[in-house]
Subunit: 341 residues, 2 copies
């Protein structure tokens, strides 16, 4: 039996295409001391890996992948062989070596990926892949961004960009449940339909007109807080729309991931005029909030107040297409790749 | 007797020159009900008025001045006629109608300038102009930036840009007195000499080499906090030099005041990688901290731990030259214009 895994063929020029990635076969690795062999069952398809496909990565970020390297990403799987006393065969674990059928991880072994060591998941009766979505990294990112970074108040008007994505859809709904006035933006009619009709979030397609006008139509008095998943012109528009003492949570900047020369907002000085605050974050620095997040979010999932949408690809052979599809905006909600039983 | 005042002739193209301003004569105004007539004795020559000489001002800022308008700015003067029950003839007051010999202000009259209503000053034995400098707006700006915005810790390594300016020199010294490791930057040999030899702040001239190298030479391990008076390439360099969880106080952006198209830092995404915080502020929003600031700063001035340097122009006729001189970097410390007795 072989292990199939996805690797980088060449750095994408502009938008990532499936041809920049390839599926290759290799032997199933043998766990060394302290390692476990995991058969992956769910792969999380997240935008942030795109950052590591460029020649250089931002200061403080993980290093770039090189052509020939395997992709990495959050994943869920079952322990099939264990030489780590912390894990037993049959355990469900989350880890950061996705984009492959079999992964070697260990609680005392350094793995790269930014979301910490492998962790045993007790999914109980819940769909296990929720621990990659609303009860995992996406949920924690939304929760931290809203409540730690933005210190969201029920009186706030909040704008969430990329609001139909894995993190955005959770952030928009959690903020609304907590009493804030929420507006969303996204990049397709399908996403706007999902936001308006299924989530009840007033939203606009950023292709439909200048951002300041679209924002003003939904939030005529301005906004108090901005959950940024996009960067670029969205961040510029937010700086102008924010009221005095407004806050910005910098979570992602997908507008810059395709390799266009990054540009900071030309109106940054309005932060002085209006006493604004901006803070960047990654969920991996706030794992101490995982338990309260899971309690709150699983309650909303159970009572139906929170809608969770997945876009699922099937089999490792679809993984090279899943990432470009998600990055180009073709998927709604959390994008996943399910691997065979 | 006449009132001489400074007005804008034309919007500067690039750097402000004295020819863009003119000194004109007019009648001394008569106070109406609720107003006082102040004979100005000290004018504060501050960089921020440059922002209002452009065609447009940043979102949230005061509106642009038009050619023909009088300049405004912080000033100190003596009440010579009062129809405001809150002020008596002979009172020393600070207000925001500088760049003129006589000003009409009032505690219940709206004046424009951003630093609030006129305030009576009890200077005691202290030089009155200190209430435009270390005990006034400059002191409050430094104090708020360090202790409210940056939440400075004695273990921090702090970079202050424009460190030989009115605010920068106070911020650098206050931070050092409180125990932080401080490095400074400025734009002339005279300023670097002042910083190194008189204030004991390790400093570099930003003309002397690439900012990242100059910073690394003085702070090889990076910085924890940045007090930004410059913006532009300085802010970009700070984002790269900041360590995890670093903080930025946005106070001014003098690099952009001369009308070059403003550009945001291209490396803003490093705020996500490193969990950075950035916050803009204006001292006028923190007047509740004026009393604790004055207690602390006057103590340091009295015991000699804090050095206060002034560059003084004489007479209203020098005011049109004072502002371009300060903006071009020709003055050290607080720039003032003293008006005749």
């Amino acid at each position: 039996m072989l292990n199939r895994h996805v690797r980088l063929v060449r750095r994408p020029a502009g938008k990532l295409s499936a041809a920049d990635l390839e599926l290759v076969e290799g032997p199933i690795p043998e766990p060394g001391p302290g390692e476990v062999l995991v058969r992956n069952t769910w792969l999380s398809i997240d935008p942030s890996i795109r950052i590591r496909l460029a020649e250089t990565t931002p200061n403080g970020y993980l290093p770039p992948l090189r052509p020939g390297d395997d992709l990495t990403g959050l994943a869920l799987g079952t322990v099939v062989e264990s030489r780590d006393p912390d894990f037993a065969v049959g355990d469900l674990v989350s880890h950061t070596l996705g984009y492959r059928e079999y992964a070697l991880v260990g609680s005392r072994v350094q793995t790269i990926g930014g979301y910490g060591a492998p962790a045993r998941i007790d999914a109980g009766e819940l769909p296990p892949q929720w621990f990659l979505g609303p009860l995992g990294s996406a949920g924690l990112t939304a929760y931290v961004g809203l409540f730690e970074i933005l210190e969201l108040d029920p009186g706030d008007t909040l704008w969430v960009s990329s609001a139909a994505g894995a993190v955005g859809a959770l952030a928009a709904q959690l903020a609304k449940i907590r009493g804030a006035t929420v507006i969303g933006s996204a990049g397709s009619a399908a996403k706007i339909g999902f936001l308006r009709d299924e989530l009840g979030i007033p939203s606009f397609d950023y292709h439909d007109g200048p951002l300041p006008e679209s924002l003003a139509a939904l939030a005529p008095g301005g906004i108090d807080a901005y959950f940024d998943n996009v960067g670029g012109d969205h961040l510029t528009a937010a700086l102008d729309a924010l009221r005095y003492a407004g806050r910005i949570a910098l979570c992602g900047a997908v507008s810059g991931y395709d390799g266009a020369a990054p540009q900071g907002p030309p109106n940054l000085f309005t932060m002085v005029s209006k006493g604004l605050r901006m803070r960047g974050f990654r969920a991996g620095s706030f794992t101490h909030l995982e338990e309260p997040m899971r309690r709150e979010v699983s309650g909303y999932l159970a009572d139906g107040r929170l809608t969770y949408r997945e876009s699922v690809f099937n089999g490792i052979e679809e993984a090279p297409a899943a990432l470009p599809a998600m990055l180009s905006g073709a998927t709604v909600g959390k994008t996943l790749c399910r691997l065979g039983a």
